[in-house]
Amino acid sequence: MSAELRLPVEASAGFEARVMAAVRRAPAPLPERVWAWLGEPRALAVSPLGGLAAAAVLALLFAGGTWAALRTARAPVAAPAAAAQPAGGAGSVVTFVLVAPRARTVALAGDFDGWDRTRLPMRRGASGLWTLDVPLAPGRYQYAFVVDGRQFVADPSAPRAVGDDFGEPNSVVTVSGGAPRGAGGAL
């Protein structure tokens, strides 16, 4: 039986050509082709002037990125209740801040936006610092951060709301806007 199995098999005419044609028709996947192109050594001719221009562009890009990062890091950050009050006493622009380096998205949800999980996305800055400025009319608002679209997180730098109606604590921001109060009054 083993001798029989060792007998050469006669392939039909053109079999080898058909197999090779099929192999050539199947292209390699795109990432594989890109990787192969990147890995293949190439001769690159660069003039001294071109090299200097490329280096200048890279240096400009690096300087611009560094400046933007420093500007973000030094931006004045106010705790919700301590935000600056615009003239006229018609409310405040409140800066909300959350440090969440591992978060992919952070949004603000509260009484001021109908507790919408997506309406007020926060901007990510250096070191996972998420910030958002929101103009608010005078009043007391409950809010929370929505991390990665699902997890409600209270603001660690703000007072907590009394009561916990839905099992997840809220924070509170109070915006003043009333007229100055005089001293006195019966106690």
């Binding site: 009484d111 009043g139 109606d165 839905f166 009333g178 109060r181 019966a186 106690l187």
Partner: protein
């Protein structure tokens, strides 16, 4: 079948609402199911008779919807808030603004009595009480006993302390509590310092460490 009845009931109540109120309830469309919509709409409509604004009630329902709460839980939370807002309306009077009612409801929920709200209103009839009421609620939430918080805020206001100073006072209390000071003691001591004009330094009200026994 029950869902259809709830939808019809919600539609009927919506049609009977004044336009401004209907606009508020419309915000719930698509955020809660028909049965919850009908329950919340009925609560909002009934609260209107007591002079309770619709916006905070609808916001509470939207919060519950956003957090995935059940319809029953949403209705219970809205009902509880409507009760607090109605209490604040009675204590603060018919001229109270919506933000004052919201802050007053928070103070009531925290444990400040309606007499405190009424006293604030009678003492300061034409001034916004949003910040004093909010600071009271925040102090109690941070652990300051309700009677200490109310007395302290009243004393500060009697001295003419402004809203920004009340907020700064609350922050000082929170900071000292975080550093280990007893909640009630730090509020009273800080208020005394503010009234007498003493500088308020962080950590002034932290008790010294107990001497070790030999």
């Amino acid at each position: 079948m029950n869902g259809r009845i709830a939808a019809v009931a919600a539609a009927a109540v919506l049609l009977a609402l004044p336009p401004a109120l209907a606009a508020q309830v419309d915000r719930l469309a698509g955020r809660v199911d028909e049965r919850t919509l009908a329950a919340v709409t009925a609560l909002v409509d009934s609260a209107r008779a007591s002079g309770v604004p619709a916006t905070p009630l609808v916001n509470k329902a939207l919060e519950g919807a956003s957090k995935g709460a059940s319809g029953e839980r949403i209705a219970a939370a809205v009902r509880a808030l409507a009760g607090d807002l109605a209490g604040a309306r009675v204590a603060l009077g018919p001229g109270a603004s919506e933000p004052e009612l919201v802050a007053g409801a928070a103070a009531l929920r925290a444990g400040a009595g309606p007499a405190y709200l009424a006293r604030l209103r009678s003492t300061y009839p034409r001034e916004s009480l949003v910040v004093p009421l909010a600071v009271t609620a925040d102090l109690v939430a941070r652990g300051v006993p309700a009677d200490t918080a109310t007395r302290t805020v009243l004393a500060l206001m009697h001295e003419g302390v402004q809203d920004a100073d009340l907020v700064a006072f609350r922050q000082s209390v929170e900071r000292d509590i975080a550093l280990g000071a007893p909640a009630g003691g730090t509020a009273a001591a800080l208020a005394g310092a503010v009234i007498t004009g003493e500088p308020v330094m962080p950590g002034n009200n932290i008790p010294p460490p107990r001497p070790r026994k030999p």
